[in-house]
Symmetry: C2
Subunit: 203 residues, 2 copies
Amino acid sequence: MEKHLKSKVTINRLCYKGLDVFAQKGYHNTNLNDILRELCLSKGAFYHHFKSKEDFFVYIVQNLVAQKIYALLVEPLSTQEDPLSAIMESLDKALEPGKSNELIYGFMLGDFLTELDGKQEEVSASLKDILQMWEVNMIGTLKKGKLDDHVARHIDCEGVAAYIISSYLGMRTMMMNHNPKHAKYQYLQQLRHYFNSLRPAAA
Amino acid sequence: MEKHLKSKVTINRLCYKGLDVFAQKGYHNTNLNDILRELCLSKGAFYHHFKSKEDFFVYIVQNLVAQKIYALLVEPLSTQEDPLSAIMESLDKALEPGKSNELIYGFMLGDFLTELDGKQEEVSASLKDILQMWEVNMIGTLKKGKLDDHVARHIDCEGVAAYIISSYLGMRTMMMNHNPKHAKYQYLQQLRHYFNSLRPAAA
DNA sequence: AGTTAAACCGACCGCCAGGTCGGTCGTATT
DNA sequence: AATACGACCGACCTGGCGGTCGGTTTAACT
């Protein structure tokens, strides 16, 4: 195999496994040795590609997580006329319990923020960036929805976006205590109620 | 000072400081030495009262956190006729940014669940217990509200409770990125919209 | 074939934080 | 006064994990 290709393969293997383990065990509970053993790689291999554990984590967040969030939760916002439907649909898809990995991207955002706050500035900054990207886009979509009369004029788009994101982040935490499929159904159902209160009164 | 009294004082000092630091830095980022230095206590003092760091944390959760959650978020549920008003008021008070500590109890519940999942079974179990206590009580209150026509008949009380708690947990995470006072206002505002959609249609 | 530099190996280092333990001090009991 | 015991001290131990580094393999180029 070509060298630079092999390199990319190794980096990819490290990142996907890393994402998996980080999401399961949290940042501090994760140790590199476990990851490396599972991949049959050595310390040397790791430190050849990444300069530290923190660097590794940031790389994963800025690439895998950011991309996934964008693809699942940001980009779909502008595919429909009605922003509320678009949001609903994107959340529905994002919560699809298909591949185990996908379930994870929500967690990373919320839960690591506390674990990493204070120390590891750079790391939590990269997580906050993603959240903010999502939020800003959602606000924009909602504002546009106002103009098209899909959203009531009097509502506070910033507040709505923050609220939706909050409920999404918190919901993923709650899902650990309940049946995921049922929790998803419940969540979307309530979100639907909430959304109804944001629509313009039927003319 | 009497001996057993002095003992209690020391334990109390440890716990309150511990709660403070754990909430700020997370479980793994917190080291006992820092806590002990700030309190001018020794390793020996600590291990005389607690058998391990984990034991210490569980003790804090089961005492301080559980009590606070109960006093702030569970007990107030049954003080009013209308459950939705009661919930709203309890959340309002719980989010009061008065003492810095109070802001914290929300975090502990949600964010540590991920950090501690997998390992530290006992710890996360104690956190889950508290969440469940809250949830069960809220469901009960909502069901009672149905009978008194404060809540629409068709709504799913379990779903509503899970949704409210989710949004609360997620909201505390979001508060780290925004102005807390403003975030609180936004949050309660949106919750009010949501609650309106749960009330019986005006007869 | 010879050379170069990448990808990779794995033994080793050093720090740090949880936990131990023998000892001291102060208070209660006789 | 003597004894006992609980509260506390702090030097020390220890294991785990992030990180290092000299060496080895292997692909690419001449």
